[in-house]
Amino acid sequence: MPSLKDLKNRIASVKSTRKITKAMQMVAAAKLRRAQDAAEAARPYTERFNAVMAGLSQAAEGSPAAPKLLAGTGSDQTHLLIVMTAERGLCGGFNANIAKLARQHATRLKGEGKTVKVLTVGKKGRDALRRDLGELFVGHVDMTDVKRVGYADAQGIAKDVLARFDNEEFDVATIFFARFENVVSQHPTAQQIIPAKFEEVADANVSDASNTLYDYEPGEEAILADLLPRGVATQIFAALLENAASEQGARMSAMDNATRNAGEMIDDLTIEFNRSRQAVITNELIEIISGAEAL
């Protein structure tokens, strides 16, 4: 049985923990709103871009002159997994879920006899995967200094990836990130970016537009060759933004839970504290009374 003093200390310590988690939750909420705004602002660009690319790539598909970024290298022997996670922890299962998905993917590919390479973006993913996939790491992108994800960051990663592709280091590239649903749910997602796949957007307006016959200036293929590398950057950028929002969402709900748990713990400890104080008082009374009776 802990002494009264011990209990008092524990209550004080849980109280200060609660203060910290509460503060972290509020910071995450503010950051989440910013991240969501950024993701919102990027959406028109990504949507238009994908719609145009979908139209273009449909036309180019099957043609023997189709760029490698679209048609692939003709083999799928070597896979590059780009695992995007956060730089910080304390955000629930966010990092672990992405790492788990990537690990499953890697195991499956290895089972099929493929070569797997891993590029990590964000420290937490690297730490989580080092034990199982450490020997497959080909690079790491540090995002510690990035306060706000900008398009330039995505371009940097895309450049790195494209350079590796040009050197024929891999055939297929897949990005792993968490798609933001809402504050309580973020879905770890795998998305193939090389060879490029553009989903036809279901929106009626957009698909109408992609059916229009366009003039292309310069030629169709020149545009495709110019835009495909940008497409890689765009998809990475969209994934980074989703990830940023997901991270803050996950942190917010994790810290909300932590705050609530700390509150429950304080209630329990307070009851225990009051009980034992009562017990001490009762004991003292018994001692006094029995002492008086003995006289």
Partner: protein
């Protein structure tokens, strides 16, 4: 009165403009073009340059670098890799862009040293200098350098 067309300028980071315009002057990769209502549907890539939008309230200018424009009979959507309203294009920003262009050139020369990338970088610098001259900013380099 001439018909209007819907003009959208978006960069990956934000939507810069969405207005009804009467004409849009676009720096296309193969040369400048002006889009007005009922233009033939066209997709063109952009070179770094200045885009001018004429609308009922006057005209706006934007500095765009990279990306493409999608022109239809009723709308122009420009997806620029980076875009700035001209008013935000200060000497400081411009210097930074020139620096990047030169760094690109340096890299193309030293690492790849093939005609393709070097030409591309040279074209980028030339386009940037042209923008600077047009706006009245100092590109800080001679043409003979």
């Amino acid at each position: 009165m001439a018909d209007n067309l819907q003009f959208d300028l978006v960069s990956p980071e934000r939507r810069l403009a969405s207005v009804e315009a009467t004409e849009v002057r676009i720096p296309g990769a193969d040369g400048d073009l002006t889009a007005m209502a009922n233009h033939a549907p066209t997709i063109t890539t952009l070179r770094p340059g200045i885009m001018t939008v004429v609308h009922s309230g006057g005209s706006d200018e934007y500095v765009v670098v990279g990306g493409f424009a999608e022109i239809t009979a009723t709308s122009v959507s420009v997806l620029a890799e980076s875009a700035l309203p001209r008013s935000e294009m200060t000497q400081e920003v411009f210097n930074k862009m020139m620096e990047d262009a030169h760094a690109e050139m340096q890299k193309a020369k030293t690492i790849e040293n093939e005609p393709g990338p070097v030409d591309d970088a040279a074209r980028l610098i030339a386009d940037m200098v042209a923008i600077g001259t047009h706006i009245g900013l100092d590109p800080k380099q001679s043409n003979f350098g």
